[in-house]
Amino acid sequence: MGDPMRIRAQVKDGTTDVRVLMGHPMETGQRKDAAGKTVPAHYINDVKVMVGDRTVLTAKWGPAVSQNPFLQFRFKGAKAGDKVSVTWADNKGDKRSDEAVIV
C-alpha cells in the first residue's frame, strides 16, 4: 500500500547510516473527520530492517509515531553494494517492503 519508501543508505568508515521515510497516515484513532466521525486507528506497528540475512534493526511502534514516519539508524559491517531492505506491517495487516543499495 502507499508510495514506495524513500531509503538512503550511505557507508563511511565502516558505518552505514540509513534514513528511511515511510508513507503512512499513522492515524491514532483519536481524530475526528470533518463529519465528526472518529477516524479509526491505522498505524505501522512493526518494522524490520535486514541486510541480506542479517537483521540490523527491529521496531515496534504505537500510533504516536508521526505521520509518514521518519527513521534513522546506523550499523557496522556492511559495504557499498550491499542491499538494505526495510519492511513494515500495520495494525490492519498491510505490509510493505522496499530496498536500497548502500552507496
Binding site: 506497528n45 504516536a64 508521526s66 527513521l71
Partner: protein, 154 residues
C-alpha cells in the same frame, strides 16, 4: 478487579505461545521477552508502561535524548536517542503525558549502533523519556519538550 487486556487468561495465552516458540528454538528467550512488549503500547500511564518494559529504570547520564526545547508542531517532534551504555539491547521512547505513553521500541542487534532518530506526536508539553535496556537492566533519562500546538488530533 481485572483490566481486560492484561487478564490472566490473555497473559497466559501469550506466554504459552511464546514458550512454545522458545522451546522450538525459533525465538531465543531474550527475544521472547522483547516481543512481549507489543501490548504495552496500549497502556495508558507511564507507570504501567515502565512496568511492562520490566520495572523502574535507573537514571543514567549515559543516554542522550535530542529533542527540541519547544516544538511548534506537536504532530511532528523529532526525537533522537543515543546510548553509551555497554551492551545496549533495546531503546524505547516514552512520552509521559501522551494518551499511550509508550511510543516506540527498537531492538539493537550486535553490530548496530545504539542510536535511533524518529519523529513522534506529542499531545502537550511533557517529559520525553528514553528508556534503554542494557545487559538485561533498565536505564533512562528524560528531557522536557514544550509543545505549542498539540499533535494528537484533539
Amino acid at each position: 478487579m481485572t483490566t481486560p487486556r492484561t487478564s490472566r487468561r490473555n497473559v497466559l495465552k501469550q506466554g504459552s505461545a511464546l514458550a512454545a516458540l522458545v522451546a522450538c528454538g525459533l525465538l531465543t528467550a531474550r527475544q521472547a521477552q522483547a516481543f512481549a512488549d507489543a501490548s504495552a503500547f496500549e497502556l495508558k500511564t507511564m507507570d504501567e508502561a515502565l512496568k511492562a518494559l520490566g520495572g523502574t529504570p535507573a537514571d543514567s547520564k549515559d543516554i542522550t535524548i535530542t529533542s527540541p526545547d519547544i516544538a511548534e508542531n506537536g504532530a511532528v517532534v523529532p526525537v533522537a536517542v543515543t546510548s553509551n551504555l555497554p551492551k545496549t539491547q533495546e531503546i524505547y521512547i516514552v512520552v509521559e503525558k501522551n494518551p499511550n505513553p509508550l511510543t516506540a521500541g527498537f531492538t539493537i542487534p550486535e553490530g548496530t549502533d545504539p542510536f535511533v532518530s524518529t519523529r513522534v506526536k506529542m499531545g502537550q508539553s511533557t517529559n520525553v523519556y528514553a528508556v534503554v535496556k542494557a545487559d538485561g537492566k533498565l536505564y533512562s533519562t528524560h528531557k522536557e519538550t514544550k509543545v505549542t500546538l498539540g499533535g494528537c488530533g484533539g
